[in-house]
Symmetry: C2
Subunit: 527 residues, 2 copies
Amino acid sequence: MAVQRVLIDGQWTVSAGTSTFHAVNPRTTEPLPETYPVSPWSEVVQVLEAANRAAETVRSWSGDRFAAFLEKFADRIEARAADLVAIANLETALPVAPRLKDVELPRTTNQLRQAAKAARDGSWAMPTIDTASNIRSVLGPIGPVAVFGPNNFPFAFNGAAGGDFAAAVAAGNPVIAKGHSSHPGTTRLFAEEAQLAATETGMPNGFVQLIYRTSHDDGKRLAAHPLLGAIGYTGSRSAGVQLKEAADRVGKPIYLELSSINPVYLLPGAIRERAAAIVDQFATSCLMGTGQMCTSPGLIVVQAAPEVENFIKQATEKFAAAPVGTLLGAGVVSHLESGQKTVVASGATVLTGAATGGGAGFSCQNTLLRVSARQFLAAAEALQTEMFGNSSLIVVADSTDELVAVARSLEGNLTGCLYTATDGSDDALHDRIAPILRQKVGRLLNDKMPTGVAVVASMNHGGPFPATGHPGFTAVGIPGAVRRFGMLQCYDAVRPNRLPAALANKNPNGSLWRSIDGQMTQGDVIA
Amino acid sequence: MAVQRVLIDGQWTVSAGTSTFHAVNPRTTEPLPETYPVSPWSEVVQVLEAANRAAETVRSWSGDRFAAFLEKFADRIEARAADLVAIANLETALPVAPRLKDVELPRTTNQLRQAAKAARDGSWAMPTIDTASNIRSVLGPIGPVAVFGPNNFPFAFNGAAGGDFAAAVAAGNPVIAKGHSSHPGTTRLFAEEAQLAATETGMPNGFVQLIYRTSHDDGKRLAAHPLLGAIGYTGSRSAGVQLKEAADRVGKPIYLELSSINPVYLLPGAIRERAAAIVDQFATSCLMGTGQMCTSPGLIVVQAAPEVENFIKQATEKFAAAPVGTLLGAGVVSHLESGQKTVVASGATVLTGAATGGGAGFSCQNTLLRVSARQFLAAAEALQTEMFGNSSLIVVADSTDELVAVARSLEGNLTGCLYTATDGSDDALHDRIAPILRQKVGRLLNDKMPTGVAVVASMNHGGPFPATGHPGFTAVGIPGAVRRFGMLQCYDAVRPNRLPAALANKNPNGSLWRSIDGQMTQGDVIA
């Protein structure tokens, strides 16, 4: 079978690459038939140059045009939903329904449409005007954005259709999609629809491009290239920190989502009050998508008590009895096993699982591990090793001081939860732990598990390193996610006819929010 | 004379350091009498721990309290203005009037008061609420901020009183000031007043601390320390990139201002129309503060023409005839000479200057260099070497294509200017160059020189690397500068009594701007 083509400068092109790869069906562990190319550096340069030309073409375009593209793309995705769901299911083994068809695909088109709305409105760019000095500023497009999608969300985080893609486009930037090697076919279908939508809505060639894979070194060269504006990366910590280092060295903005174990504190009163309900919520959250969620609860922290022993027993039984899902690939299995080994070697004991198999294809038994807080504190770094998949570690503290000390020892995470009793009996303890946890996580939850990332403006899907590369940004939630792909552009005494529309005296659409002389307003500048 | 004390945890303390240094009077090139300590690592750790305790104490405080401190501090600075101006003049040789007394000191207290206003108002933190999901987010304090001030603005960028200090405090963070070694006495006076203001307004010990110097290695360890929230650095590129590398490796936000040559395009019609006026503006801007401005025009780009030769002749005469100012220190002299040597070695010719001396103490003749665009393009990196001080390079292009090519070859800068004719004769050429220059600079100017950074909300004192570390942020301009020192904190189903005031249903001060369900409003959440 012929090698699949890459999308460069508006054309589906035979790759110059000589090496190739196949995706693997996780259910059968057998390679899928299609062959995909590894792009050589010369091809990456072609892509960068085309993206740069596209960026120069669209730089002064109004948000309406990017909105039209995003909306057309969302429509086209919906029209091709059946194909997308089928190939994503084949490549990832994620369930067709409800996951792919009823949850992730609608979320993806919803993100594209929210991004379109933000692009049309323009307020995301925070236009600011000082009339006395005639200095005006706005977030303008940062330049071509390379989006590296992860393995675990073939739709919603896809390099050619997901949240970073939508945000980069809404900010007015071309996207270079780097497909994840585990689902190249899914990414190809998205790129096909994106290119058609781009043509239909008059976007220039090179506005959306797709390459499937490069060497690691070429990935780093891409991340540091002068023609690139920024990078969005969701994936493993090891690959991400290498890209980050390359980008940081040349001051290139890189937005990463790397790893998170998502600590959940179950305070004594909550366990006394509703242990059975919490067991259900915990198991459901941790085993959802076979635990392959960025916000999967990977660390449960409790204080020793008879009812906690009962809670652990119930959770263990639930994990042992639950069906074992298929993992995304051989790499996920080996990474999970390696994480479990590290955690066990650092003093944790296995309550259930921690062995390969148990499900169809790539799989690992549902796993619960246990460790004392004392031991956790003695090897805090190793015991925070991410076990991406259907696995979680329960930390049992002997005292409230140990609960607090565990919180202090945590690395940065996307989320942190506190379950407390409704009768107020946990409140004093909550008030000792919450301020510490607050500084360690992007999203703090009460009385609920962290999975389920609502796509709303107030979402923070981010957090301190190593969860991401910077605690000020979110990858999910518009307009926040869009702002990552803007650069601050100030106009000092620039002649009125040369100003972008957002900074003209007249409000361009009558609804744009601007700060004019320190006042938020949708009005015009009074000249 | 006894070694000056460091300010740690609310106390002026004898440093544990065994090595010391002196500031130098730039006018006499002789050391000043006061002795200052180099703090050892153990002392840096003490400072970090005290800052962390202070951060925990103030974390939930309302903006009013930080505002009260900032305003009291501004008042105290004004009451001690004479001492501050005298010591800064001694340590930097910057003129008492108008520079220090009438411009920089009022700017500094103005920044503190603008920061206070932002802290009291709270809108800088962009509170965002989605009622349907009950998810709420706001920028919260990022943690203790280390501020490294530069040599060239002893007041407005001082680590213990300048823009980064004001912004970090407005966001609710303690500051660890790292005084610049060229003006430790100035920094000490600020820290004295800051500590008194802190005591008077009930801030905890450790909210403001001062150390004068550390080893380079300890500076890097400080920048990467887990107890530190973020770093603000203004200074040399070589030291800055080392701090950046240390901070980046652990995902610690670091905001840098490193270097900028501030390209100025003088298009043909503008030169024909008003050469004499432009010569005046150029010389004034470039020689202001002996050229020791972050936004000094260090690169002038023109197209060959007889009137351009005349412009260059006039500018050369002006530079040669102007008084030669004193530079800030021996390091500035050697750095400037080294930059000039690099530029000359890469093909530039000396129009005037390029020799040590000519002024009182540390000085270098006012210098103009010239190079062809062809040569510039052949050695673009070397010919963009910053010559910090009273020195500038004129690039003469043979064609409009070369003017465009020079723009494409530029690194990131704080500013970029275009002078064009008023009759429209430069407009076509402007429209070729401006979009390229736009992406390379933080602030784009028309028909004016880049020095003079207005402290207004719309200012961008930032730009792509190597001007700064990230093109999305400004160091000057409130509220933008404040947001750098916030982390995005999301609350998901958190109980109402545990929410920060900015996210409560009721608008805490009736004037806070919030985004509620996608609408900007100063109202309450309708429960």
